[in-house]
């Protein structure tokens, strides 16, 4: 799947000196192990440590080579608004993965096996990124639809429902042909 540079904050070029420190911030949050999972994220700017940790953890969970900075802010704000402990939990999970070298593929099993209070966290973050949905049950809120990653990663083949696929009959052709 081709990467769209334009939706990545890495493409955000500015010479502001404050920006350099925002970029260094994230590197300081990562261990050698977590940095190896998301080498591209080392150059990501972050306004503060909590938001930086969210970007890093999101990058590990989502497993993409770039994440949209504005979207990260929107999701972070929505998740933090719904749960005062969210910033601390994010930092705790990021540290845990870094210290114990947990493979993302094993992560849920490890957390469940240890009855970790952090066990629900990865799913909350994945739901925010991939579904654009924050919170659960009656409190669930939609904060993204067309820009949710489950729309983005199939955008070469499908339009999100309610968006026109194309001219009448265009769907009869073989996808990606």
């Amino acid at each position: 799947m081709a990467l769209d540079e334009s939706d990545s904050v890495a493409a955000d070029r500015t010479d502001d000196p404050a920006d350099a420190s925002r970029r260094r911030l994230l590197a300081g949050l990562l261990t050698a192990y977590t940095a190896s999972l998301i080498p591209w994220a080392l150059a990501q700017p972050a306004p503060h440590a909590e938001r930086g940790a969210f970007t890093a953890l999101s990058a590990i969970l989502v497993g993409r080579q770039a994440l949209d900075g504005a979207q990260a802010t929107r999701l972070y704000d929505a998740l933090a608004a719904g749960n005062a402990r969210f910033p601390a939990e994010v930092q705790a999970l990021l540290s845990l993965i870094g210290e114990r070298h947990i493979d993302p593929r094993q992560l849920q099993g490890v957390l469940d096996g240890e009855h970790s209070p952090l066990a629900p966290l990865p799913r909350q973050i994945m739901s925010a990124w991939f579904l654009g949905v924050v919170g659960g049950g009656g409190d669930a809120r939609c904060v993204a639809y067309e820009t949710a990653l489950n729309a983005v990663v199939v955008a070469d083949v499908l339009k999100p429902p309610t968006y026109a696929y194309g001219a009448y009959g265009s769907w009869s052709a073989k996808p990606n042909a």
Binding site: L61, G63, Y145, N150, V157, L158, K159, T162, S170, W171
Partner: protein, 544 residues
């Protein structure tokens, strides 16, 4: 003293069926007043509500009920409007708003097969209808021309005249299913009220794949189109008018209906002829609510059949991964079916069924599955694409036989207006369950032909509901066992007619709206025959 209104024809319920009866009668010069419990909705707002909804898989989410005219909601939790008496749940869905439930239908607009109306004579099960398929045929045609139905001739339902439109272009996914299942199964295009070209002032489908819960461009015909057509013909609609009582005179003729406005002010409407078209649950509820000393069991209920014989189309299904990329979600949601099992001698033993392939995008379901499975890292995106490209689902649409114990009654609980809520008593009998069992072999064969892996059958004994509420106001020749006659007139009240899927005495295997519309047009003709020239005009007007 309640405010008074009056009309020649008073229609209760501005859904697709009531509105098309109203339109035809208004075209004949009658004054027509439609009383609609719910508010007017705006398409653009529904689209926005869907896009902003955290519950994209729940098609009721963009349609929150009004406090004065509630409808059932089950997600994220049951709003307790449709009470469940068991033993099997009957989670019916409908929308109380101007235009009714077809705001979010799939626009499958099928005819029955001729033998569907004679299953008692032919197979010794259910009941026969008081009319033949041949008598229905011209009314189907008129309905198809109004709705703008696209279809092909190979679906098992004979016809005298061509469809108004060619079938909707086949999605790639369904082409592959059709090619790979041949010759074992014939996969055919669904007959749908969805434009394959511009028709009736509405555009051709552009493949938004959101037919349920809302077609943003109105390429599929909706109840609101019927309401607007009725208004254009001169009918008046009163929204937010919750009818709570039908009144009769000393001779048993209907004299008036009463409704509440949202502020609970009372209004009374008199008329010459009354049409009850409030759907298969709310219509029987209203008849039961209108009990009087002369009719202690409710109106039109000397047979005791009002609310009984509740039927729908339960479904079981199989989901699996095909061995090639199909990418469901390109084009309309409901494109194709296997229709060869709708009829046969086996109907003496078990229910017939249609096999229905969805073309709904699998992206949402697959994302939910992956999140549930706790998949993280690069694997997530890889799996999402792999599964969304290959996941496919086939379901059966099973006939249910009329059983007097399956029924709608009045609950002891009341809604915010003080009107009793409806209560469902429902069970799925062995006739239907046997067919579900038989169809499993079809599911397995289909999966094998598609190189299927990861087969997931719906849970044993669990049936999804298809929201085709039938039987509760059954038509029949015998007033002792049916509610209305072959023209929809109640046996008990000369000037009270019923229109809707509820009048169908058996459910057959096809989505029931087109049949209900055809019967309603026939009822309208019976009430006020069209002049020949006017009838021809009406047909022309329906054509693009």
């Amino acid at each position: 003293m309640p405010a008074q209104q009056s009309a020649d024809i008073v229609v209760i319920g501005a859904g697709i069926v009531g509105a098309l009866a109203a339109r035809r009668l208004a075209q004949q010069g009658a004054s027509v007043l439609m009383l609609e419990a719910g508010p007017r909705l705006e398409s653009a707002r529904i689209v926005a509500a869907f896009r902003n909804s955290p519950l994209k898989g729940n098609w009721m989410a963009p349609y929150p009920p009004s406090p004065w005219a509630p409808h059932p909601i089950y997600v994220p939790r049951d709003n307790g409007y449709l009470k469940q008496a068991g033993p099997y749940p009957y989670p019916a869905e409908y929308i109380r708003a101007v235009g009714g439930t077809t705001w979010h239908w799939a626009a499958q607009a099928w005819r029955l097969v001729p033998n569907d109306v004679r299953i008692k004579s032919l197979y010794g099960v259910g009941v026969d209808w008081p009319l033949s398929y041949e008598e229905l045929d011209p009314w189907y045609q008129e309905a198809e021309e109004i709705l703008g139905v696209a279809g092909a001739d190979n679906t098992g339902s004979p016809r005298q005249h061509p469809f108004p439109m060619a079938p909707v272009a086949e999605p790639w996914s369904m082409r592959r299913v059709r090619e790979r299942l041949a010759p074992t199964y014939a996969v055919v295009a669904n007959t749908v009220a969805r434009n394959s070209r511009s028709y009736g002032g509405r555009p051709a489908c552009v493949g938004n794949n959101s037919c349920q819960p809302i077609c943003p461009v109105n390429a599929q015909y909706l109840g609101i189109n019927a309401v607007e057509a009725a208004e254009a013909a001169g009918a008046k609609v009163v929204p937010n008018a919750v009818v709570y009582r039908i009144e009769h005179d000393a001779k048993g003729r209907i004299a008036a209906v009463r409704y509440y406005a949202p502020d609970k002010s009372e209004h009374r409407v008199t008329g010459t002829t009354f049409i009850l078209a409030a759907n298969g649950i709310e219509s029987p509820k209203l008849l039961l609510l209108s009990a009087s000393s002369k009719y202690p069991n409710g109106l039109a209920n000397s047979s005791g059949a009002v609310g009984r014989h509740l039927m729908d189309h339960p479904s079981t299904s199989l989901t699996f991964y095909a061995d090639e990329e199909l990418w469901l979600g390109r084009g309309p949601q409901s494109p194709s079916s296997i229709n060869t099992l709708r009829d046969g001698a086996f109907r003496a033993q078990h229910a017939p069924y249609r096999l229905d392939f969805t073309n709904i995008s699998q992206v949402l379901n697959v994302t939910n599955d992956l999140i549930k499975e706790g998949v993280y890292g690069a694997e997530f995106e890889k799996q999402l694409r792999w599964r969304a490209a290959r996941q496919i689902n086939v379901k059966n649409v099973l006939e249910v036989l009329p059983n007097p114990d399956n029924r709608i009654t009045l609950s002891t609980e009341k809604d915010a207006m003080g009107i009793p809520k409806p209560e469902a008593h429902y069970a799925i009998d062995d006739y239907t369950r046997r067919a579900a069992e038989v169809s499993k072999a079809d599911f397995a064969r289909i999966a094998a032909l598609m190189g299927g892996t990861g087969l997931r059958y719906s849970a044993e004994g669990q049936f999804a509901n298809n929201q085709h509420i039938t039987g509760t106001l059954s038509m029949g020749s015998d007033p002792a066992s049916s509610v209305v006659d072959a023209f929809g007139r109640t046996h008990d009240h000369e000037n009270l007619f019923v229109c809707g899927t509820g009048v169908m005495p058996t459910a057959a295997t096809m989505n029931s709206t087109l049949t209900a519309v055809a019967l309603a047009l026939r009822t309208a003709e019976h009430i006020l025959p069209a002049k020949q020239a006017a009838a021809a005009d009406g047909r022309e007007a329906g054509r693009a």
